[in-house]
């Protein structure tokens, strides 16, 4: 699903995440992250971003330039942009994204990743591998799902 113009919106869908099913296991970020990452270029317009958010279930998009992550766009950024600017349709993604986002590595422990989120009051961390490539995003919903699974298997054990 490419958009017109030179800059394409890239939907990168690798295999679905392989989650370990054992209860009460310590996880790493790579186990529970979302591997399907939707990325925008800094030159996409605000309108492209709004369309993307309203057509998809996600609230966070990664902004990539030359293979490197340069920012992140969340529904919050979009709301803020809508409230502040009159001719918002024509603005570029680079003008309202959050630049230099806080990231985690796929091998990071979940406790470190969650602590980062709680500490910074954010709901999404791009997952960046050693070589600088983005391999996924970790959202609070991914974490809630992992916790819910753990809790459920605990419930079963206690029965």
């Amino acid at each position: 699903m490419a958009m017109k113009q030179d800059s394409e919106i890239i939907f990168d869908s690798q295999s679905t995440s392989h989650q370990r099913d054992a209860a009460q296991k310590e996880h790493c970020v790579g186990d529970v992250m979302t591997r399907e990452v939707v990325s925008l270029s800094p030159h996409h317009t605000f309108e492209d971003a709004v369309n993307l958010i309203s057509n998809r279930h996600f609230r966070h998009f990664v902004v990539m330039a030359n293979g490197q992550i340069v920012g992140i766009v969340s529904d919050r950024d979009v709301l803020r942009g809508l409230a502040r600017t009159d001719n918002w349709q024509k603005k570029q993604v680079s003008e309202f994204m959050t630049p230099e986002p806080i990231t985690v590595r796929p091998e990071s422990s979940l406790s470190v990743a969650i602590a980062k989120m709680l500490d910074k009051k954010i709901n999404c961390l791009p997952v960046v591998a050693n070589d600088g490539t983005v391999c996924g995003i970790l959202t609070s919903t991914d974490l809630l799902k992992a916790y819910q699974k753990d809790l459920e298997s605990l419930d079963l054990k206690q029965r």
């Binding site: 310590e26 422990s109 979940l110 602590a115 709680l118 609070s140 809630l144 809790l151």
Partner: protein
């Protein structure tokens, strides 16, 4: 319209001192200290309250302490788009009325499931008499999960202490809302 914005420190419904690592039901981790609104507060007052507080969800409570609804940042955005003269509206005209609630005895697995299924981040907690006794947010759940994961990792590494990154876990998440004078 002289209703006060209430800050209540209700008693914990659970047996106190139960370690969070063993949390299994809503009562173990819910926030009992609440900032609540009455249905008669104006929209303007509610938005002020939200702007001055780090929280996004406020319970709207009737005089008999039963739940009237939930007022969230989403409600504000929706109303701003639609209503001219929004400042004068009452909270009751803007809030979400049909709210999914849990009981203090609800297992955490069910509560987490409800949040995921309904795509919500907040569940009011009401007791058997339908009176409000707390609120459970996705942040409450994540903070417990963080501690659980940290202790599992510590056990794995053979160290007794938690990683240093956990020292600064926001204890203030247990305090929902802010003090009004």
């Amino acid at each position: 319209m002289e209703e006060r914005i209430e800050v209540t420190a209700a008693r914990k419904c659970s047996a106190s001192g139960s370690p969070e690592l063993l949390a299994t039901s809503v009562a173990d981790i819910m926030t009992t200290r609440l900032t609540t609104l009455s249905p008669h507060h104006t929209f303007g007052e509610a938005v002020q309250l939200m702007a001055n507080s780090p929280f996004r969800h406020f319970l709207v409570i009737n005089a008999d302490r039963t739940l009237a609804g939930v007022f969230s940042d989403r409600d504000v955005l929706r109303a701003l788009g639609r209503t001219p003269n929004w400042q004068a509206k009452a909270v009751s005209g803007v809030m979400t009325r049909y709210v999914v609630t849990v009981n203090p005895k609800t297992p955490l697995s069910i509560a987490a499931m409800l949040m995921l299924e309904r795509r919500i981040n907040c569940l009011p907690v009401v007791d058997d008499d339908r009176k409000v006794c707390g609120i459970l947010t996705s942040t409450d759940l994540l903070s417990v999960y963080q501690k659980m994961q940290a202790s599992l990792e510590a056990a794995q590494n053979g160290t007794a202490s938690l990683p240093s990154s956990c020292d600064r876990l926001p204890a203030e998440t247990k305090e929902h809302g802010y003090e009004t004078r």
